[in-house]
Symmetry: C2
Subunit: 493 residues, 2 copies
Amino acid sequence: MENISSAKSVYPVNLFEIRLMTTNTNPARGMRDFLPDAVRKRNYVIGIIREVYEKYGFEPLETPSIENLSTLTNKYGEEGDQLMFKILKRGQKLEKQLKREDAKENDLTDLALRYDLTVPLARVIANYRHELPRFFKRYQIQPVWRADRPAKGRYREFYQCDVDAIGSKSMLVEAELISAVSEILERLGFKDFAIRINHREILIGLLKAFNFTTEKYADVLTSLDKLDKIGVDGVRDELQEREVDQQASKDIIKYFDIMVGPEKLPRMPGSHRAEPNVRKIHNGMQLTHASLKSNDQLTRGISELEKIVELLGYEKDSPPTEIDLRLARGLSYYTGAIFEIVLTKGDFAGSIGGGGRYDGLIGMFGKEEVPAVGFSLGLERILYVMEERGMFPDNLRTNLVDVLVTVWNEESAGESLKLANELRQNGLRVFVYPQADKLGKQFKYADQINVEYVCVLGDNELAENTVSLKNMKTGEQETIAREEVSEKIKITR
Amino acid sequence: MENISSAKSVYPVNLFEIRLMTTNTNPARGMRDFLPDAVRKRNYVIGIIREVYEKYGFEPLETPSIENLSTLTNKYGEEGDQLMFKILKRGQKLEKQLKREDAKENDLTDLALRYDLTVPLARVIANYRHELPRFFKRYQIQPVWRADRPAKGRYREFYQCDVDAIGSKSMLVEAELISAVSEILERLGFKDFAIRINHREILIGLLKAFNFTTEKYADVLTSLDKLDKIGVDGVRDELQEREVDQQASKDIIKYFDIMVGPEKLPRMPGSHRAEPNVRKIHNGMQLTHASLKSNDQLTRGISELEKIVELLGYEKDSPPTEIDLRLARGLSYYTGAIFEIVLTKGDFAGSIGGGGRYDGLIGMFGKEEVPAVGFSLGLERILYVMEERGMFPDNLRTNLVDVLVTVWNEESAGESLKLANELRQNGLRVFVYPQADKLGKQFKYADQINVEYVCVLGDNELAENTVSLKNMKTGEQETIAREEVSEKIKITR
């Protein structure tokens, strides 16, 4: 049996009973319906993302929505395991568990919905490594699911737009990815975005220099990341709560606040300004300080950042990149450069994406480590800001249909279809009014769906091989030869 | 917290442990990974479907993957309820159920994955009826999930491409939908498709005339639908097994086999042949037979089919439509015309989609009945046949990237990025080799990824502001002025 034929006879006959049973017509909690206008906006943004990534040689990948539970568990920490949507076992396997008295959560489920696009990518690379090119540049734009508490701007089904370059350790990859992401945001019309970069080895080097113990690294960086928001006192209180060594905390807060505070951040928004900025990193960091002087990790991190900055300097319009030594970003799996894309102005300032190098993660399903760098764009946030700022082009809605063809009466309905057919063959998008209503009603409908032209094909027009064409914007109406209609509409489009 | 930042710190630090735990890298049972070539083929077909539907004025709709369980249960019959992927409750709600000793399946789940696109459409129309236009023409191309036993060509996640016109009872809608679907199949390159049409009221009229009891209607039609495959004897045996009245069975088998057997099916593949064909329906059905003469349903069904056939006759290239009085198609919810799209030739003959009028179903979530006609195309089946028949255009793969830019050495890597940047600004799709390998290796890679041009930017070229351009197909290599590269590549594209 084909999938297609299994659609047969699936609905029970008695529709009335169904109606009585079903009253809630809202989408499920945290889920959204996308009516046509919303789909067009989503497709517009996704279209630009695809186009730019393909211009950079990235190829599309799609993975299934459902993964084996064992593929996903223990990959996202305890919180992730809790927020995962898990799928109930079926048939006999479920019955067996239901009969047990002590069945636990994991006895009842064998599958789960995709939680992000990175773990599936790692699985795909391990599974098809002999079919994939040595340098696999892939983008993936698909929904993921998380059973988070829904809130403004936070949904339980949302799209991630990931781009990853697998297989090279060269900083060329970082530079090219920053360019690609930057081009996407420019094409979408963002003027106030910045790509903040930092390096994991710089952070680890600093933590080592300030004598923190390894197990406190994540705590310290998570807190320092908030220096802007909660201030020196806030960070100190948080670190105390997390039982981090007090002297080390005091020292690093001072260092971050005074030496690399936001006003002293080296910035390089223009092009060909790479070199002076790199020098500024050194100065700003006061590497003359004894404990920082001969720190291998620090040196390596700085030299990689320098290389990225240098490469970006070759671009005609260098992406708006900023070094931000406090940027932490999910330190757990990043191994090199880390990025955060932010909007800098107005009510919508904040993160719209991020990424970094993670040379260890991809190998988790395979036998060997595979170097990788990636970016993830937050589609839902981008759409929200674009909506609020009015950044969508006007013609997403108005150019949907070029012309509405009216139906004069039941007898001539076929003639209306024939005209529509001719117009479509000339490349026009045509809406045929679907029944023989009064003409006024049909014009009113054309107005509602915002179509620019209406064709009337009455008895006279049919007899004379003409069409009455009304421009709904200007109100002008004229009777023209039938073969001229398409040209007329196209010219003014 | 934004979705985007919840990607932070979700991976545990110790990647080595993960690697030890995870060995199976296959997609879950019945699920598929789509590598880039497969995605391009899927997007090519989906692109044509979207383009044609939009040309006919249909608008895109998307609904969430997850629906409330109560929205989906009891809509697809017992089999559907079993094949649905249900989602485990979470947090305290789950804990409460796990503590019970007598928890049943439905106590453990509150959500399920979308099973088709029709029930979500009905929910959407009930929920947004004041925002949607009076005639809502929507298409929806999204995956659905069924826990069917996987088999060749049958998957547990597969796409449906639905198109539905809501709000009119006119046969114009049927005719236009048949045209749209037909245009899609032509654009995809199918030469041997036919759209078989029948009418539920004709079927019900015949069943009544042959004195079947109402509760046996579905059984009889399901069996008669197989007359071609299992023959007269097979149908008789099946009906006997299902305890259908023997005399009535004998009579109707005779009628279907002799009066409307396949060799006598009225066909109307050309245009403007509507009228004679309609007359053939009457003759073929032998309506002079007493029990068929004054049968209201039969008369209404025939008159509606006549109208559809007449309207299709106006098209310049009339869609290849065939009347097939044995077509049954999920009778449970269809109320008027029913369609099946079939391929007629070779190993891949069979159904690739279907549809019909269902004036009762959409209303199941609302207070009033809403007329509707729809088609569903089986994307997976279409892709499979196109692959087997070699119907995809060659340039889906080869036109992916226009040119590969090599990297001469680490020092000049920035210059390669700069050149790539220039070429992209001229509209080319450019792959920058991601590190400074030996040139031979880079050329070999260009060959593997099937790119037509390779740019070499060595010390000489840089000094002279030139580029060495190699055509990988012809082997020709020439050194040309840098500003001419894009033109050169575009001309031959």
